[in-house]
Subunit: 439 residues, 2 copies
């Protein structure tokens, strides 16, 4: 079983930052993230990975007032954050979210290759396509790219990045002071990429990363996502609200991986999971109820508006939630079921805003350490997941119960490593190290 | 006197990596850079700053063969490198070179703001405009932007970045768990920038950096550079081969700063200086001669071709150096004097290639610790410099003589700090902390 820790500035539950056991939010304090990374490393987790958006969630009401006033919404830039953590940790993988919609492949290839070197082979890139006009407006555009264009761009972007990582073969650098020969130029290659979105000649000016390629993560639920991820990803991070849907998604995804000529085990599937751990099942449910009571529905709607790329303030809080399934242009796939459920229940806008941001449709595992371990064991045993992306409700304390009580229980059951066996993140994940296509 | 250490993968002297006292080149080893940063911090230097180019110097001969085979030419990405060093150091400033020609202001503002937070106010940005077609071809262009366009873009780019740093006023984030109020939205501002090169709405999604604005460094010699830097820069890094030219440049620059309505002390001028320290002046000259003998003229020409954006392999090695003063499109200003000198001396192409890369036209201070300290004292006393960017001939050992013998001599003379007095790089440099324009 593989376990990654999803790292945000204040945890994933919309009420989390207000919980009495949550520390003061310190979104820009290296000490906060270092402490979290070291805890996760002590528990032998595969990876810590950092979420991102390229702007504030200011669509709701057309301004920053609602979002900035009501919830943590500013965050460190992920590449520089995981680079800072590379020096503070020694074994755990470090992932950063970087959008393909507003970046250049040469910069992205180079930064991840550099972090892979500085960390000794522990870097991972969560490639996303961004969701909202708020992000587009920080990069010279009036509106975000449409769904098809941004996925097409993402597909080519990842391809270019992987070519750049291949542009230096293994051991090209062999300095010899006496002769003055520094490297073997026959092992350094132009990529000469000419595509619809990018023209990149290469070579990269960073030698081949320790992992060959840093691990590529993709997240999503749409068919377009699945088409790309089954070809391009090393790990997928998915939204599955329950075991049955997770089993169906796992089977379909792995079948498509195989159909693309890749071994099913070469892409790991990790659904997000919010653990709420108590001494007993009852205590965990009490914590869950306490957290739920701290949710501000409007704060929830600011988040939802950003993810949907649609201003929900157009609809009164106490009116019925509208049918926006064909209207939204942000994370479309992710909201189809959320909206259908809301319509079926006749829920109000405020109710949906509050309910959605409890766990953002990710499964919640609330219970005693044994109960939570049972849930994880069942999902993995019944082929619903290769592991989980843990989404703590609040941070830093909200993950302690999991790390100190659930992880040892999983270790006792032989479901999770007691020690790191390899040096790189690919080793932790059981992923092969790719060879250079130019070798 | 202010002292910055220029950090490259193998030192600045073209023969440096081959010197017997130079360690093995480890361009991607965090330990190499950490050791260097800690040594510089122990000597109380203001800053370490990292050079960059966005590709290999492959213009010479139209391929990677000459450059990759003959000299260190691949390097870590600077932002991620200084982020990694932020966690390993506690007082020294950390600067990274980032080109304005192939980046987005939102990303750059955000990364430097993040590093400023993670380091507790020690970040600096060396804003450059790039020089060669080799770089352009990694970013979808056939050729580099012309001189005027790239400086115009740089000017607007820096302006946008500074606006984004201002978009959060001081202390906007004031989380209150009880009321659910997270931040004061009246202190968070759209920048609504609409310029010739960029449209950026903001706000940044990072709160105001500890320094207000991270320190902005610019490097150059042209009139266009001076026009922008006297308005925009906090520190300039210049090429001055000797005391007289440095005094003239210093006076002219500070006069223009004043003419722009800024106090002359609000922009520090630090010429680059290559220190070669021996136990005696004779020993230092011997080391200099030893290093010079290790230069490969063709390796020098690959570097020069990249900086000129002109393929010097068109001219035979033993033929006269051609008059390229109106032909080159890279670092134009910097090569006017180099070429004039070559023509006057009737030097061959190989001779110029070898001579230029000894110190890249930066002044060389070779001598005993006392002699080198005398040179630095004279430059500062006679108003030729506010300090220096130290360019060690090789690394990591090539800076030890300076740090352990010249710095103590400067301290004894009362010319350099014995301890850090403030917490931030602006404190070290004696620069004011700017207020937000939106406050």
């Amino acid at each position: 079983m593989h376990l990654a820790l999803f790292c945000t500035e204040a945890g994933m539950h919309a009420g989390g930052w207000r919980h009495p056991d949550a520390g003061a939010v310190r979104p820009f304090d290296l000490g906060f993230y270092r402490e979290l990374a070291l805890k996760a490393e002590a528990a032998k987790l595969d990876m810590l990975f950092v979420a991102d958006k390229l702007g504030l969630d200011d669509l709701y009401g057309g301004g920053v007032a609602a979002t900035v006033a009501r919830r943590p919404n500013a965050r460190p830039e992920p590449l520089t954050l995981i680079a800072a953590l590379a020096g503070a940790t020694s074994r755990i993988g470090l992932g950063a979210t970087v959008s393909t919609s507003y970046a250049e492949p040469y910069h992205v290839a180079r930064m991840f290759a550099t972090i892979d070197h500085l960390s000794g082979g522990r870097a991972a890139w969560n490639a996303v396509t961004s969701v909202s006009d708020s992000e587009a407006r920080n990069f010279g555009r009036a509106a975000h790219l449409d769904h098809a264009s941004r996925y097409e761009r993402a597909d080519e972007f990842i391809d270019v990045v992987r070519k750049l990582w291949d542009s230096w073969e293994e051991d090209a650098i062999r300095p010899d002071k006496a002769s003055g020969r520094f490297a073997d130029d026959r092992r350094v290659h132009y990529i000469d990429h000419e595509g619809r979105h990018f023209r990149v000649r290469g070579p990269l000016n960073v030698e081949r990363p320790p992992q060959g390629h840093p691990v590529v993560i993709q997240a999503g639920v749409s068919g377009t996502f699945q088409d790309i991820a089954t070809r391009q990803a090393d790990l997928v991070f998915t939204v599955q609200p329950d075991l049955d849907s997770a089993k169906r998604a796992y089977a379909a995804f792995k079948a498509q991986v195989a159909a693309n000529g890749r071994p099913p085990g070469s892409v790991k599937m990790l659904p997000g999971l919010m653990p709420i751990v108590g001494r007993s099942d009852t205590e965990a449910e009490d914590i869950r109820a306490e957290l739920r009571a701290l949710i501000d529905p409007v704060a929830g709607l600011t988040f939802m508006s950003g993810s949907m790329n649609y201003d929900l303030s157009r609809h009164p809080l106490d009116g019925p939630f509208p049918d926006l399934r064909d209207v939204i242009t942000g994370s479309r796939g992710r909201f189809q079921r959320v909206i259908a459920d809301a319509l079926e229940r006749g829920a109000t806008v405020a109710e949906v805003g509050a309910a959605y941001v409890e766990s953002l449709s990710f499964a919640v595992a609330a219970g005693s350490p044994k109960t939570v371990a049972d849930i994880l064991e069942q999902w993995v045993t019944e082929q619903a997941a290769d592991g989980f992306v843990l989404m703590p409700p609040y941070l830093p304390g909200g993950v302690d119960g999991f790390l100190t009580q659930v992880v040892p229980e999983l270790q006792r059951r032989g479901l999770f490593r007691r020690e790191y066996c390899g040096a790189t993140l690919r080793d932790h994940l059981g992923l092969d190290r790719p060879a250079s296509r130019y070798a």
